[in-house]
């Protein structure tokens, strides 16, 4: 699939933003001392900023954004609608939550809002993942690990985004252990995904695409000389070397470097911001690869022997 920067930035940025919101709400519920009132609001703001920036970016992917407001119409069947609905639901909750923080209205209302916010953030991330995972036409996406990965990476990157804010604002302990735990979880999910989809697979073959009852089907001519919408959309050619390099970059920037820096105990907002930025860069590469390596069944009709 053609990596579209609007969508890549959207999923990375919104993922971090939503992760940050979820972590904020959970920390406030379970370990409020880590996130005192003065820290919570900037965290909330950053979370919403990242989420909104991502959502705005996603509209650049739309060829006819004036109809974007209709995107919630198919909640019953479309994960894209569900994502829109849940994201839409998240904002009032987040704002109410923010009001409780700002006004100091603690107690049950904040707790309820926090639970709701965390749940919605996770559901939105899951929905985003399901947008891809529900597509049977793209075997690399059509897998349970995909939404889990979106959630895990979102929580992980959201936590990393939270660290410099906490360090700057609260002056108290920084939840490094949590970050490391989420890093481990995200790495495990992503690692499992890479193991499963490391080598090209033949989930669908040309024989499935063209069940002519004949042996050895090959493309002779696509019937068009130049690029088409289909080739633009579904035919990203990724060199094997390029893929290897990018996987390495993902591993180093998103996981190894943050792990190393956090384990050696870097502290202070600038250093922690650097850790977060490294992870974001790594995740941008991860998301780019997620598209670039995905193969759509349309390729079978254009002569590719198998996709998977």
């Amino acid at each position: 699939m053609r990596p579209a920067w609007s969508v890549i930035f959207f999923t990375v940025s919104s993922g971090a933003g939503l992760g940050l919101l979820a972590i904020l709400a959970l920390l406030r519920l379970l370990a409020a001392r880590v996130v005192p009132d003065g820290t919570a609001l900037p965290m909330l703001a950053l979370g919403l900023l990242l989420t909104t920036a991502g959502l705005c970016s996603s509209t650049f992917h739309l060829a006819n954004p004036k109809n974007a407001w209709r995107s919630a119409s198919r909640f019953k069947t479309s994960w894209l609608s569900r994502e829109a609905v849940f994201a839409g639901a998240l904002y009032p909750v987040a704002l109410l939550y923010g009001w409780t923080l700002w006004s100091g209205t603690g107690g049950a209302l904040q707790a309820i809002c926090g639970v709701l916010l965390a749940a919605l953030a996770v559901v939105v991330m899951y929905s985003t993942g399901m947008i891809y995972a529900c597509l049977k036409t793209i075997p690399r996406w059509n897998h349970g690990l995909v939404p889990v990965g979106y959630v895990a990476l979102g929580l992980y990157s959201g936590t990393l985004a939270a660290l410099p804010v906490i360090a700057a604002k609260s002056g108290g302990p920084v939840p490094v252990a949590l970050a490391l735990a989420l890093l481990a979880a995200a790495l495990a999910v992503k690692g499992a995904y890479f193991v499963i989809f490391g080598a090209p697979k033949a989930v669908h073959t040309m024989a499935d695409a063209l069940p002519l009852g004949k042996k050895e089907i090959r493309l002779l001519d696509t019937g068009h000389t130049h690029r088409t919408f289909l080739t633009d959309e579904f035919f990203f050619r990724l060199a094997r070397r390029q893929a290897r390099f990018l996987r390495f970059a993902v591993l180093v920037l998103a996981f190894v470097l943050p792990l190393a820096l956090l384990t050696v105990g870097v502290s202070g907002p600038p250093a922690l911001a650097f850790v977060a930025l490294s992870a974001f860069t790594g995740l941008l590469a991860e998301r780019w690869l997620f598209f670039a390596e995905a193969e759509h069944t349309v390729r079978l009709y254009h002569g590719q022997r198998a996709v998977g």
Binding site: A63, N67, K136, G223
Partner: protein, 232 residues
């Protein structure tokens, strides 16, 4: 009702008549168009088509066979393009035709991703999705003579390799054409139940051979023939 096409791979010569007729009718159709062209006279001309003909080879020389495969929307019974569409622009009619209401489409291309067959193409000028409508504005247009209430591709096809009709009606053109000759659905295991059916290239007819006659020498032939003056 399951309206769809039957496409006979035994007679499709790959002439692109259907694709061009489709482009012509639907390019200005209020239900399907416009179908813009890009860089039309330029370096790499391309454009929006609802039907593309691809050419394949099977087997190895000299036992090879060339197969031409026209592909357009299959109007799947379980059309994922419809269910994934977030805006409600893509919809399935009670007669089975899958359509896009361009007025609702936000151009996210998600439906095109969900379609296994490459049947949907984005109009990059208007930013909305295009697809085969089975010429819904021909087949129901009662102002047209009845014989013309057919999709443009079916009307044009010079080898009559395309038929249109309701697969739920055993007497329809498609049901009769497809009877006993259908190939398994393309990418069957995805489970979308494409309505269009492709008909298999047939086996070569068998010729009942005349019992062979022995070869003789030329002189014998001439003598026999000169005497009898007859052949078969």
């Amino acid at each position: 009702m399951r309206l769809g096409l039957a496409i006979d791979l035994d007679t499709c010569v790959g002439c692109h008549a259907c694709a061009v007729a489709c482009k012509e009718w639907n390019g200005e159709s209020l239900m399907a168009g416009p179908l813009p062209d890009y860089d039309a006279y330029g370096k790499e001309a391309t454009g929006t088509w609802l039907n593309r003909i691809r050419h394949y080879e099977c087997g190895t020389y000299p036992e090879n066979k060339t197969v031409n495969v026209p592909m357009s929307c299959m109007h799947c019974e379980d059309a994922a393009c419809v269910t994934v569409c977030p805006t409600g622009a893509s919809y399935k009619r009670p007669d089975g035709i899958v359509l896009v209401d361009a007025d609702k489409c936000m151009g996210c291309s998600y439906c095109a991703w969900a379609c296994p067959y490459g049947a949907r193409e984005l109009d990059q000028d208007e930013g909305t999705m295009r697809k085969c409508t089975l010429c819904v504005d021909r087949i129901y247009d009662e102002r047209l003579p009845e014989a013309d209430r057919q999709p443009a591709c079916v009307l044009a096809c010079p080898t009559h390799a395309r038929a249109f009709g309701d697969y739920d009606d055993p007497d329809s053109d498609v049901s009769r054409a497809a009877k006993g000759r259908s190939l398994p659905p393309m990418l069957e295991k995805l489970g979308y139940k494409p309505v269009n059916q492709y008909l298999a290239p047939r086996q070569a007819p068998e010729i009942k051979m005349q019992p062979p006659r022995p070869k003789k020498s030329l002189a014998d032939y001439i003598r026999d023939w000169a005497g009898a003056g007859k052949g078969s």
